[in-house]
């Protein structure tokens, strides 16, 4: 499982960085989204991977730490998801404004002559 997660994070991050460095604004925003997915998975993995372990105690009360997942990274991921979602939406608006003002979708607002 660790290998699968690690490869997934790697693929997402590398595709994200590739797209981030492209000259079209839409590619940049997709790249940012992919990167944020990679980072969210990474935060999650930092709480140690464990299948089938609940992060909260059941109604029975006491529990053994060995059978529970760390809840804190999950809370952090939730916050990070919300923030990166909002920022992506904001970036999208700026992207559209830039498209409307300059008439093209280059990140510098003007096409580079070949």
């Amino acid at each position: 499982m660790e290998l699968v997660i690690a490869i997934a994070i790697g693929v997402l991050a590398s595709s994200g960085i590739w797209l981030l460095l492209r000259p079209r604004t839409f590619q940049v925003i997709i790249g940012l989204s992919l990167l944020s997915y990679a980072v969210n998975l990474f935060i999650f993995a930092m709480g140690r991977l464990r299948a089938g372990a609940p992060p909260v105690l059941g109604p029975s009360g006491t529990g053994d730490l060995a059978t529970y997942a760390d809840p804190l990274p999950q809370a952090l991921v939730l916050t990070a998801i919300v923030i990166s979602f909002a920022m992506t939406a904001l970036f999208l608006v700026v992207l559209l404004a830039s498209r409307g003002l300059t008439g093209n979708d280059h990140v510098d607002g003007r096409e580079v002559d070949p």
Binding site: L20, M46, L76, A86, L90, V94, S98, L101, G109
Partner: protein, 550 residues
């Protein structure tokens, strides 16, 4: 309960409530929003002054406020120590001055100036107060989200283009911040800054390596904010494109990165033998020197004054990073003094540029440079020689003296506070307190800081001659008192820093020494007792003495 206890959280709550309330108002109702904004910003100033009076004294650990009343390290803590309250005060002063300036006309350039301004203040204050890394991330995002909106305030192609770059690079920096924070949590098991400092020594070597990688990635995220070379190219364009009062307010944004580096850098290196050295100090010093050099070249090359101001932000950042990276309480104390002085000076300069450039065609600067370059200097100059009797108009004289004050402050010439700050850094650098291996670094920083002063002086003189002695026809700028007042306030504060330099320097030195010995900070965080609350009673008739619910 003593209300002074809750003063620590007020710098976050006041702008949050004010900004949230303004969102409910109709976006076109600017008078009420402006009034709320002024009241909130001024009350922040009062709170900041009270906090400095309360916490700036002998208590090195500062006041710890437990959010949600959970004891550290389980809950999030706010810590108001000397450095935090100093930054709060600088933010509040800068906020009041720029708001006053913006009220004259700039707040009408777009919708939602006032709420965004309050949210920016909230993010800044929260980032300065918090003692938790993830909470720091959240406040960074709050201030950045507000700054995206403010950078685009007034719209237009130049702002949207610069804003696009600014948002993209800061989103990547935010992702780096998250990677760093989660690596730190994955290895040390806590995000509380004080708890981190106590756990470093117990980490096994392989985890220690991962932890330091985490701190370094986090550091890169901070350094993007403080615009260190080579990750600071976004800054001059963004600041030059932003509306002038907003650019002036942004001059504190780079200092947030510096603050975070200072705060965390000293805490995570506290287990080392030499406690006065920062984590990754040598890298910071090299990066700082490179930033100063890049900023210097930019200052010399810029044709517009707004770009010139943007590059002086880079020079100021670089000077701070180089001085902080060299380390030592004396140098850091000087750097803190420089931080305050340069923030005020750059903000005043940004505001001044807008006043001076009013009434001149946008291409005038470029035209003047072209004329100089091709030797086509003023073909009709000879005709003007007879007009000796014409006095300099009063407004240009006032603006000109303010410009001279800015030039003196930014280049670090005597007699103003820029000189005191640079002298404090430089004289501490040459003190032979370290071994010979460090002395090359000291001399490199010394030489670069001096050279940057010279470059700033040359560029400012050239810009001043071109603007104030230009023979290109121009209308006199129409300037209102309310617009001139903020510039005057910021410059007078710099003069007061010069007059009261001894007192201010002592405060900075004490702050730097407190940072270098984080024991008091850590002790205060862990010793903070949760407030005693009465156990919940089911009987509804029982109320507490002050009449509130139990």
């Amino acid at each position: 309960m003593n209300w002074l206890e809750h003063l620590t959280v007020a710098p976050i709550l006041i702008p949050l409530v004010a900004g949230g309330f303004m969102l409910l108002l109709d976006g076109r109702n600017r008078t009420v929003a402006a009034a709320i904004n002024v009241v909130a910003t001024l009350s922040l100033l009062v709170v900041a002054i009270m906090l400095v009076a309360l916490e700036g004294g002998q208590n090195a650990g500062g006041h710890v406020y437990l959010l949600g009343n959970w004891p550290a390290p389980f809950g999030i803590v706010l810590v108001a120590d000397r450095l935090s309250v100093l930054m709060l005060l600088v933010t509040a002063i800068l906020g009041s001055a720029t708001l006053l300036f913006a009220l004259a006309r700039w707040d009408k350039a777009g919708a939602f100036f006032h709420p965004l301004f309050q949210f920016l203040l909230m993010g800044l204050n929260g980032a300065f107060l918090t003692g938790d890394i993830f909470n720091l991330f959240v406040f960074f995002e709050v201030l950045l989200a507000a700054s995206y909106g403010l950078a685009l305030h007034g719209s237009g192609p130049a702002r949207v283009k610069a804003g696009l770059h600014y948002i993209a690079i800061n989103l990547v920096a935010a992702l780096l911040f998250l990677i760093g924070a989660s690596l730190i949590y994955g290895t040390a098991g806590t995000l509380n800054m004080a708890a981190l400092a106590t756990r470093i020594a117990g980490l096994p070597p392989d985890e220690r390596l991962l932890f330091e990688i985490g701190v370094a990635v986090l550091g890169v995220a901070f350094l993007v904010k403080s615009a260190m070379w080579p990750i600071g190219f976004w800054l001059p364009n963004t600041y030059a494109a932003a509306a002038p009062p907003i650019a002036a307010m942004f001059s504190i944004l780079t200092k947030v990165g510096i603050y975070a580096v200072l705060r965390l850098g000293f805490l995570v290196s506290s287990s080392e033998d030499d406690v006065s050295l920062l984590f990754g100090g040598n890298w910071l010093m090299v990066g700082g020197i490179a930033t100063i050099l890049f900023g210097m070249i930019g200052i010399m090359a810029s044709q517009e004054m707004a770009k010139l101001a943007g590059f002086s932000v880079l020079v100021s950042s670089g000077t701070l990073l180089a001085a902080i990276g060299y380390g030592g309480a004396a140098v850091t104390g000087g750097a803190l003094f420089y931080l305050v002085s340069s923030t005020f000076a750059i903000a005043a300069f940004f505001l001044l540029i807008e006043l001076v450039e009013r009434g001149r065609a946008p291409a005038d600067d470029v035209l003047a440079v072209t004329l100089e370059a091709y030797g086509l200097d003023d073909p009709d100059e000879a005709d003007d020689s007879g007009e000796v009797g014409i006095a300099i108009p009063a407004i240009m004289a006032i603006l000109g003296s303010a410009f001279i004050a800015c030039a003196v402050l930014l280049s670090g010439l005597p007699p103003l506070s820029g000189f005191v700050a640079k002298f404090a850094i430089l004289s501490a650098l040459v003190e032979p307190t370290r071994g010979p291996t460090e002395s090359w670094g000291a001399w490199a920083v010394f030489a670069t800081i001096l050279m940057s002063g010279l470059a700033t002086l040359i560029a400012m003189t050239r810009a001043g001659i071109r603007t104030f002695w230009a023979s290109i026809d121009r209308d006199l700028p129409h300037v209102r008192v309310v617009e001139l007042a903020p510039v005057a306030i910021l410059l007078i504060l710099c003069i007061m820093l010069t007059v009261q330099a001894g007192w201010a320097m002592r405060y900075m030195r004490m702050t730097a020494e407190g940072l270098a010995r984080p024991g008091a900070y850590i002790g205060a965080v862990f010793a903070a007792p949760p407030a005693q609350t009465e156990p919940f009673k089911a009987a509804p008739v029982a109320t507490t003495a002050d009449g509130g619910p139990p």
